[in-house]
Structure formats: C-alpha cells, structure tokens
C-alpha cells in the first residue's frame, strides 16, 4: 500500500493540469486576488478553503474565464492548462469552458426537461451525431451523476421539479456530459441538506477517477472528506497549499492554523 501511494504521487507530480503564475484579479479598483501561484494536478480533488470574501471563488472562476462575463473584472498573470495560456488572445472561452466544466453554488437546472438539460452541452458542442449517440451520452452522464436510477422514468419531466440534491446532481451530470477534463465546483453543497450533501460528496470522490476536480468550499470538514490537496486563501492571498492531511493536522502558516481552529473566518 505504501509503495502504491508513493508511486501515485510520482505520477501526479508530473501530471500538472493547471498551473497559475502570479495571478492578480481586480474588480475595478478592488484588488481581489494578489499574486496567486498554484499547480493543480490531474485526477485529483483540490479544495479551496478560506473565509468568505477571501477570493477562492474568484480564483476558481478565473480557471474557466467565467469572470469574462463581468465587465469590470481584470485578470493579470498566467494560467496554463496543459501548458497553454488560457488568457491567450487566440483562446476562445467557449472552447475553454467545454474543457473546463463548472458546477455552481445554487443548483441551476434550465427550465427544460431532464433529458434536454443533460443533452444541452453535447448538442451545442456537437458531440453526438445521431439521436442514439445522444441518448447514450445522456444515460452515461446521468449514471456518472449518480442520479440515473432516480430519473430514468421521467426524463421528459422538467429538471426544475427535482429536489435540491437531485438538481445539483443533475447539474453535475450536465457538466460531465460535455466531456470536460477539469470540473470546477463552486460550493456545490452549500444549498443542500446533509443527506444530499453526503450523496454529492460521494459522487465527487467517484469523479476523481476521470477528471481533475477543483472544489471551493466553506466547510473544512467537507474539504477534509473529499479532497487530496487543499489550498487556503486569505484576503486574496494563497496562504498555504499542500496535502489535505497535512494542512489540517500540521499547518505551516499561523493564519491557516487560526482558520482551522476557528479563530478567524
């Protein structure tokens, strides 16, 4: 067992999926992210933790350029995915976001049927040639979203009719359906009850086999449960980044310790 972990690690270190270098984000005059450097590995769950307003969500949204939709937002520095600068002029955010999927804080199914919700991404990206292909993708995605059994009999019913937890898993299935390589999750459980949260957390753990998952969470327990790596943000700075176990048991920075022990936040 021990050898296995070491071997895994050796592979992972070579497998840097996202590399951020000295990233700064400004909202107008406000300096929201102050020089963040981080390397996120493939097939890993990385958790961003920190007090509210520390910039963790902002940084997450930089990774698939969702910040582009906010007029006053400016991003400086380099973010490389597979060695390519995603803020390069030649990069189309649309193509980028197909590669970097995202799940949001509040479940946001479209006011369409469950089937159409999941089929939306594959349709716009032209992933299915035939109806059978599409059916296939939808079923596979719903299975990976761990919701297939609950909805297989009512695929034509509106997605908005599901419970909160089901809606969030539907949104995960929807994100998975576009075959991304990275999955960003912005506090995916904050609007859910404990049971639904447990289901989603279980799902995240399964997703790790196919994707590199980055999750923002305000719950330290959740970070400890689902992630292998944890990054602690404070006031726009990346304070500490490392193995989840180490961050929670033996943090290096006093600020991390204060947060973990509940003195700040």
């Amino acid at each position: 067992m021990n050898d296995m972990t070491v071997l895994d690690k050796a592979v992972e270190i070579k497998n840097t999926k996202i590399a951020a270098n000295d990233v700064h984000v400004y909202y107008g005059d406000a300096h929201a992210i102050k020089g963040v450097d981080v390397e996120i590995e493939d097939k890993t769950v990385t958790a961003f933790i920190g007090p509210s307003g520390c910039g963790k969500s902002t940084f997450l949204r930089c990774l698939n350029r969702m910040n582009d939709t906010i007029d006053i937002c400016q991003v400086k520095g380099d973010i490389l995915i597979d060695g390519e600068d995603i803020y390069d002029k030649r990069v189309d955010p649309v193509q980028l976001r197909a590669k970097v999927g995202m799940v949001f804080q509040k479940p946001n199914p479209f006011p369409k049927s469950i089937y159409d919700n999941v089929a939306y991404g594959p349709r716009i990206h032209g992933l299915a040639k035939t109806k059978a292909d599409l059916d296939d993708i939808v079923e596979k995605s719903l299975r990976r979203g761990a919701i297939w059994d609950e909805v297989k009999d009512r695929l034509d019913k509106p997605g908005t009719g599901l419970s909160g937890g089901q809606q969030q898993r539907l949104c995960i299935a929807r994100a998975v359906a576009t075959e991304p390589e990275i999955l960003l999750m912005d506090e995916p459980c904050s609007a859910l009850d404990p049971i639904a949260t447990a289901q989603v957390e279980e799902l995240i753990d399964e997703l790790r086999t196919s994707f590199s998952v980055v999750i923002v969470t305000h719950s330290m327990q959740q970070a400890a449960r689902v992630s292998q790596k944890t990054a602690f943000f404070h006031l726009g700075n990346l304070v500490e980044f490392g193995e989840t176990g180490k961050i929670f048991t033996n943090p290096e920075d006093p600020r991390t310790e204060s947060y973990i022990t509940g003195r700040i936040g």
Binding site: D92, V94, Q95, A98, K99, E179, E181, S210, F211
Partner: protein, 447 residues
C-alpha cells in the same frame, strides 16, 4: 474504464487552435449580436426620421410672410360724418376697408418702381383676407389716426407664404383660383424690393385658430390655454385622489378581497384604451350630468380618470421604497399610524410622487382620442377665455386636438401648422419629462 476513452476523445487538442465548429458558432454569435444591434439601430433611425420630419416640416410654421404697405386712412371712407364718433366708425364693416387696402397695395407696388398689368384687386389678393379685419381693429382702437398714412405689416395670403417657403410652385398652381402665375411674378419683384418679407411669427404661438380659408392666420395659443386649463383640472383632482388612494392601498388596506379587486382594477384601468375613457366622458359627464360640450372641465375630468392609475402606480412604488424602519421609528415615539404616514413617510416619498405626477400629466397633455368624443375637435378656438370660469366651462380646443383639426383640413398650408403645433407640444412634453428626470436624479434616495 470504458468511460475514460470517451471522455478523453478531445484530449490533446490545443486550446490555441479554434475548431471548425467553434468558428461556426462564433459566426452565429456575431450574427445574433448583429441582429440586436440592427434592432437598436432601426429604433434609433426611426426616432431620427421622426424628429427630422417634425422639425423640417414644422419649423416653417414659426416663420410667416408679411407684406409691408402704407395705408392712407381716408376720413371720407371711415368716418363719413367726420365727428370721430366711435359708434359711427364701428358701423363701417370690413368691406368698407377693402378699397383702402387695394389702394395701398397698388401704391406700394408703384413706390417700389414695379410696373405690372395686374389689377388692384389682384395685387391686394396677395394679402391675407385677414388684412381688412386687422386694419379695422387698428382704426377702432386708434380713431384719432384717421386721415393719416400708417405703415402696416399685413400677413400675406397662404399661397404667397407657401411660394416663399417652396411649398407652392408655378406648376402646382395651374388649377388654383387663389393665385396666378402673374401674381407670383409680382411677388418675386416685391421680395426683391423688400416689400414682402419672411419673419418670425409670434402669432402662431399665441394666436387663435382661424377658419379654413385663412391658414396664414391660424395659431395655437388659444388651444394651448385649453390644454392648460385641462391640466389644472387633472393636477387638482388626480394628485390628491391618487395620493390618497395609494396611501390607503400601501399603508392601511387589509389583505382582503376588496383590496384585491381594487388592485386588479387599477392595473387594468392603466391598460384600458383611452378612447373608452372618451366614451365614459361622453356618456357620464355630457349626456348624463349635462356638463357643457367641448369644455376643458370635461376634458380635464376624463383625463383625470385616465391619469389616476399612472399616478397611483408610481406613488405606491415610492411609498414602498420608504423603509419600514422609518414607520417603526415614528410609531416608537408614540405617533399614531396616520401621523407616521403623513408626517414621515409621505414627505420622504414626495419627490417620487411628484415625478410620477409630472409623467402622468405629460401623458394626459398629449392624449387626443378621448377629446375627440367630448367635442374638443372641430371647434374653432378663436377667443381666449377671460377668466377661470370661462376657461373651464366655455368651449375650447386643446393642443393635440387642434393639431388633429389642422391635419384634417384640406389646405396643405394647415399641415405645416400641424407639424409646428407638434413642435410646441413636444417642447412642453420634453420640458416636463426633463423636470421629472432631474427631480428623480436629485432626490433619488437609496436606502
């Protein structure tokens, strides 16, 4: 593991190269954006065309052609008894003045050194039919001038005016009995001699309407007063009633079916076609209550009912914007609910109420359809009211009704006046809306 193979189907493709599909989708995106911009552009172009049309066609109404002549006020024609008795002078009708005008017109042509074969009647025909009346008015108010020679600036008749403004051409008058080519030749010479001139026409803004045959004398002033009196009625009735209704609905009304009915009612009244309010006015105020037809009072009442929903909706919005903490604070120091509302909430909501009221008034000012039914169109507004009672009760027109009236008439000379009237109407509306916007900006409070 079979899943992974599918997931990684696009893995390895570079983000830096756009796929064919992305290019197509971006093109669709650009097209869609283009549709949006086109829609905005169409809207703005329509606005520009509208504004341009109004200004280019209406600005002419503010200029009018005048003929300067020297009239010898012959005593033997105007005051045959020679005793300067005003009653005797008044007995001379406008017909008695025509020969003087004819003579004066002929003289001024001679003095300008122009030779013409036209008869004096045709020369005088260049003047408005109003000229004799203007002259008579002058003589009656200045009887001691009889015997003198006085310089007058008479209105030119509308064809001459149209000729100077380019509306009338030698070709277009082929079948026109009012003017001949020879007369136009004379006009050209008189313009060179400075006898005929175009200048600013104050009478259009302040004057009264004129009959079909004298478009050159028509003005919008009297109907402006009609509109003013209507707006007074609207303001005096709609503001207090609207505010009272809003206070009740927003602050006191219990949640019950009656309140629901009132609310649904107000929402629907705001969307009832204005012509229906006209029918209501005709049936209730004129046929049932026997209020006088064409009276600004009736117009004001109808417009009040029409404006109320607008005022109520905006007043309620501004009452709602006052935070409950203000009410709590007043109640906390022992004020009654009524006192809290009237002493604290209402003053804070006042700017919003005022803004809504001005916008409602502006709407009412431009409304025409209901006025048609209560007889404010087709009436020649020739006399300015001389007081509050006559302003409210004696028949009058209103600005939009006057514009409609001119647009209906056969002589194209009236169209110019209709456009000109629109300029004046829009100046009022723009002023009112600007005041509303300034008020809103100035007093808008963010809680």
């Amino acid at each position: 593991m079979s899943d992974t193979s599918q997931t990684s189907s696009r893995q390895g493709s570079s983000l830096l190269e756009l796929s064919e599909r992305t290019k197509k989708r971006n093109a669709a995106e650009a097209r869609f954006r283009g549709y949006g911009m086109t829609a905005i552009a169409i809207g703005l172009i329509m606005l520009m065309i509208l504004v341009f049309t109004i200004i280019s066609k209406g600005v002419g109404a503010f200029q009018q052609t005048f003929v300067t002549v020297q009239v010898e006020l012959l005593a033997d024609k105007l005051d045959k008894k020679g005793n300067r008795n005003l009653d005797d002078i008044k007995k001379v009708t406008t017909f008695g003045y025509s020969p003087l005008i004819r003579a004066a017109a002929e003289t001024s042509v001679e003095q300008a050194g122009i030779a013409t074969d036209l008869k004096s009647k045709d020369i005088a025909g260049l003047l408005s039919k109003n000229a004799a009346a203007t002259l008579r008015e002058y003589v009656v108010s200045n009887p001691n001038q009889i015997g003198d020679t006085v310089t007058f600036r008479f209105l030119a008749q509308s064809r001459v005016d149209g000729y100077l403004k380019g509306r009338v051409t030698r070709e277009s008058i082929a079948n026109d009995k009012n003017i001949s080519v020879a007369q136009l030749d004379l006009v050209d010479q008189l313009v060179d001699a400075g006898v005929i001139q175009k200048s600013f026409n104050l009478a259009f803004i302040f004057g009264s309407d004129a009959s079909d045959a004298r478009p050159e004398a028509a003005g919008i002033g009297v109907s402006m007063l009609g509109s003013l009196f209507m707006m007074m009625v609207v303001l005096v009735l709609a503001l207090p009633i609207g505010v009272a209704a809003s206070i009740y609905l927003e602050e006191f009304a219990p949640q019950n079916w009656l309140t629901d009915i009132i609310e649904v009612n107000i929402a629907n009244l705001a969307a009832v076609p204005s012509i229906v309010f006209g029918i209501l006015g005709l049936a209730v105020f004129i046929n049932y209550l026997h209020l006088p037809t064409s009276a600004p009072l009736v117009g004001g009442l109808v417009l009040t009912l029409m404006t109320l929903p607008t005022i109520i909706i905006s007043t309620r919005a501004s009452l709602k914007a006052v935070p409950p903490s203000i009410r709590d604070a007043a109640l906390g120091v022992g004020a009654s609910k009524m006192q809290a509302v009237f002493h604290h909430v209402l003053p804070l909501a006042a700017p919003g109420i005022l803004t809504g009221t001005i916008i409602g008034l502006a709407q009412a000012l431009g409304e025409t359809a209901p006025l048609l039914l209560i007889g404010m169109v087709g009436f020649i507004a020739s006399n300015a009211p001389d007081g509050l009672a006559s302003g409210l009760l004696s028949p009058n027109s209103a600005m939009p009704a006057q514009i409609y009236e001119w647009a209906k008439r056969a002589d194209p000379a009236f169209y110019e006046r209709a456009w000109g009237g629109i300029i004046i109407l829009l100046v009022f509306l723009i002023t009112m809306n600007t005041i509303a916007v300034i008020l809103r900006r100035r007093f808008e409070r963010r809680w």
